[in-house]
């Protein structure tokens, strides 16, 4: 997608006087998957919240800019670890919630197509409580796509799923988010090695760029270069503070 811009994040963050991270520069490549890997508590989610415009309680000294110079408002969609589905809405209405919340007309055909693409046609009228964890994340994925935004922020969206479903969801997301500028926050080295066009490891000393495997995403989880990268990432996570 040619209209997916690159993003540049610069700066430091404090929350209520507590420093979260020192000044850092993060470049998120246009139309590609940028993975931000780090242990819990290093401030990955803080970076993502600032990018998403959810940083009201965060003191950010720095800047966030898109490569096309335009504002980010209205060009971002977010998918978090918790699916944040509305328990009182069925699959269709959860996918269309963005339109409803903005007071727009709902493109029903588009919503149906997305339900089909994430493989939930048979569950169209079910409410979230009647779905499995994997199915719920599929709904969240379809909802993210329904927004049609060029930039997608993913905050550990697959971390609560079992290994099999997680691998399936990674493949589905890679296919459906193709061409979008994606920033994936994860603590799973394997996920970063499979999905990252660009990989950063974030720790207390800052951001470290890692050379990803040379094959295009999405990579097979058992390819030697993917496994080697996964090992390298895990070593880095363990060795540095």
């Amino acid at each position: 997608m040619s209209n997916s811009p690159a993003l540049h994040f610069h700066g430091s963050a404090t929350i209520a006087g507590t420093p979260i991270f020192d000044p850092l520069d993060l470049d998120i490549a246009a139309g590609k998957w940028t993975c931000l890997l780090g242990a819990s508590g290093v401030g990955k989610t803080t970076v993502l919240r600032l990018l998403a415009g959810l940083g009201d309680h965060i003191d950010h000294v720095g800047s966030i800019a898109a490569s096309d110079g335009q504002s980010l408002a209205g060009r971002i969609s977010l998918m978090a670890q918790t699916d944040n589905l509305m328990p009182w809405l069925d699959v269709f209405d959860n996918i269309a919630i963005g339109n409803r919340l903005r007071g727009d007309a709902v493109d029903g055909d588009r919503a149906e197509r997305l339900i089909d693409q994430v493989g939930l046609t048979a569950h169209r009228h079910k409410k979230p409580n009647a779905l499995s964890g994997g199915q719920r994340q599929r709904v969240a994925l379809a909802r993210t796509l329904m927004e049609g935004r060029p930039i997608v922020l993913l905050d550990e969206p697959f971390s609560a799923l079992d290994a099999k479903i997680r691998a399936e969801m990674q493949e589905l997301a890679a296919r459906l988010f193709a061409g979008k500028t994606v920033c994936l926050i994860t603590h799973d080295p394997g996920e970063a090695a499979r999905l990252g066009d660009v990989i950063f490891v974030m720790n207390l000393t800052g951001l470290h760029s890692i050379t990803p495997p040379s094959s295009p995403v999405i990579r097979p989880y058992d390819a030697p270069d993917v496994l080697a990268c996964q090992g390298q990432l895990l070593r880095l996570l363990r060795e540095t503070p």
Binding site: L78, A80, P87, W88, L101
Partner: protein, 265 residues
């Protein structure tokens, strides 16, 4: 001869050690003794004008069934209308408070202050202003449930899960749409808790209203029966009131549970 009124110290002793003597004085018909009179209330079966037997209450209930049913229907009408209006007003207030920080600063202290005024004290004023008909009782029921309904629903509206609100913000949702599609549905279980309380409180309001001035209703019937020493009828009306309140609470509880279950499944 014993004095008419015993010294305080003796009567205290009597409470604990002289029961046997009092029984004896009962047999002698020595009723002028005030300590005995206190005993008779405490240890012997009370007179039927103090506490009628269940059988007498039962007889009064069936013997005056139509009378009680008529007055019960009036009271329940007051309660139901008060419940509906109070719920409506409470819901509207809670939503306004949740939408507007200014309303929160201005209205909330006033609401708390209004709770410092006992509704009981307002009943005579309402009767003065609105007469002896249904309205003062409906307003009493409304006033007594307004605060619990508003408070419960408002708390629910302010505790929407953070992630849903974040999602809405990224989606550039409008405040009213967030209220309509997220905050109100998320607060329905809290509103249900408020309504369950309201179902128990509303009859209290209506009865107080009837005590202050009425020509119909269970509260009126109870006062009337009491005044004519028909304590069995008074108890019959009281039992009907309690049963109706329990039924109302059970129905509201069922309805709320059904709605909350339906909402999420």
């Amino acid at each position: 001869m014993r004095p008419m009124f015993w010294p305080v110290r003796d009567s205290f002793c009597g409470c604990f050690v002289k029961r046997h003597d009092a029984r004896a004085s009962h047999r002698r018909g020595d009723n002028a003794n005030p300590v005995f009179m206190a005993y008779s209330c405490r240890f012997d079966r009370p007179a039927c004008f103090i506490l009628p037997s269940p059988a007498r209450v039962g007889l009064a209930l069936f013997g005056n069934f139509e009378l009680i049913a008529h007055h019960a229907s009036v009271t329940m009408a007051e309660v139901m209308i008060g419940l509906l209006l109070g719920t409506f007003l409470g819901v509207v207030t809670a939503i306004s408070l949740a939408l507007s920080p200014i309303a929160r600063v201005v209205v909330r202290p006033m609401m708390v202050l209004s709770q410092a005024l006992p509704v009981f004290a307002l009943a005579p004023v309402l009767t003065l202003w609105l007469g002896y008909g249904l309205w003062p009782k409906i307003i009493m029921a409304l006033l007594i449930i307004y605060f619990p309904v508003t408070s419960a629903f408002f708390d629910g509206l302010m505790q929407t899960p953070r992630g849903m609100l974040d999602q809405a913000k990224v989606m550039q949702a409008r405040p009213w749409q967030i209220m309509r599609y997220i905050r109100i549905p998320a607060a329905i279980p809290a509103l249900a808790s408020g309504l369950r309380l309201a179902a128990v409180y509303a009859p209290i309001g209506a009865i107080i209203g009837e005590w202050v001035g009425a020509s119909q209703g269970l509260g009126y019937l109870m006062l009337l029966a009491n005044g004519r020493a028909k304590i069995d009828l008074m108890f019959a009306a009281l039992i009907v009131l309690a049963v109706l309140t329990l039924l109302l609470h059970a129905s509201v509880d069922r309805l709320c549970s059904y709605v909350v279950r339906r909402q999420q499944a």
